[in-house]
């Protein structure tokens, strides 16, 4: 079907199909945790140690979250961000619609292969340093849909994940515990040692 000047919608669909197949083929196993490889580059380029604490304090107390919520865990995240659980305590209440402003991706929900290229693109658009929390059973392993033809079995097939939060869905307390783990992880970062 012709949808514009010389553009055939089937060509767009075929292109989309190739993108998904390529991504699926390159995602046969899980990516390693970022601290295994991410900091080598920083180690090569920066030598000072005195600003570690300041940087880590700044980073962990202003984790801005990308709003890329694909399914039902989103509602637990919405509870967490509203007044009862109040993630404003951690400087996280600013939810960003642009990945350029975000430090943290919380993968709230099942990811389908059809949606996977877009999520990967959003992650790649986020500026360094950036972290990923895999929230819920689907985020960790695909959950009950792990064997499905349409579902990505865990976000770590396409993104490096820092913290995993089990639950279906995890309660807000669990999400807060996961965020706390990530904050501790950020505290240990050192731009000199490279870990």
């Amino acid at each position: 079907m012709e949808i514009g000047s010389g553009i055939n919608s089937m060509d767009l669909d075929l292109h989309e199909g190739h993108v998904i197949e390529d991504l699926k083929n390159s995602a046969a196993s899980a990516l390693p945790e970022p601290s295994r490889w991410l900091d080598e580059e920083i180690e090569r380029n920066i030598i000072t140690t005195t600003v570690d604490k300041l940087l880590n304090w700044g980073r962990k107390t202003s984790l801005w979250t990308e709003t890329s919520f694909t399914a039902c865990c989103t509602f637990e995240f919405i509870s967490t961000s509203s007044s009862r659980f109040d993630i404003a305590r951690f400087g996280m209440e600013v939810l960003r619609s642009s990945p350029r402003h975000a430090d943290l991706m919380i993968t709230a929900g099942t990811l389908t292969w059809k949606m996977a290229p877009q999520i990967k693109r959003v992650y790649e658009q986020m500026a360094e340093p950036k972290w990923v929390i895999a929230m819920g059973a689907c985020g960790i392993s695909g959950g009950i849909f792990a064997d499905s033809y349409a579902v990505v079995p865990g976000y770590n097939r396409i993104l490096p994940v820092d913290v995993y939060i089990p639950g279906c869905p995890p309660r807000p307390e669990a999400l807060l515990a996961g965020i706390e783990l990530l904050r501790k992880k950020i505290e240990k970062r050192s731009i000199a040692k490279g870990n």
Partner: protein, 149 residues
């Protein structure tokens, strides 16, 4: 409350050449020949007393021995409903006429059934996958589809 149309009443109202294509009357639907589906639907859409002007949903079912497609029709004006069903015995190349010419809303639902069950809707303006990507092997809602990544 919406009333279920008496199927006997529908069959009596149909002209002779269409009534002969009714295969059976069951509790939950009027089973008709796939070839005459468009004619019967077009007739029921405008016939006074029927006026089934709203296509609520189309459902495809894999019944192992045959495919069944259910059309749920409503009359907004007269507040009644009825279900048309067609059965496709040929499971290798199943095809049925498209109703997208009568109800525009049929277009996306027919693409969904084409995507997940592999039933071809002849006369459809844009017959291609809708949920899965181009290049996906098979049709996952078929009972003989092997599940697993």
């Amino acid at each position: 409350m919406t009333v279920q149309l008496e199927y006997n009443r529908i069959v009596e109202a149909l002209p002779q050449n269409l009534a002969s294509s009714v295969i059976a009357i069951e509790d939950h639907g009027l089973i008709i020949q796939p070839e005459r589906l468009t004619d019967i639907a077009a007739f029921l859409k405008v016939e006074p007393g029927m006026e089934l002007d709203y296509l609520c949903s189309i459902t495809g079912v894999d019944c192992i021995n045959y495919f069944e497609i259910d059309y749920l029709l409503y009359s907004i004006k007269l507040n009644h409903r009825c279900t048309l069903k067609v059965r496709l015995a040929d499971k290798s190349e199943p095809a049925v006429p498209s109703l997208a010419g009568l109800w525009l809303g049929a277009e996306l639902q027919e693409r969904e059934i084409f995507d997940l069950l592999g039933i071809n809707f002849s006369g459809h303006p844009d017959m291609k996958r809708i949920f899965l990507w181009e290049g996906f092997p098979g049709h996952p809602l078929r009972k003989d589809y092997g599940h697993g990544c």
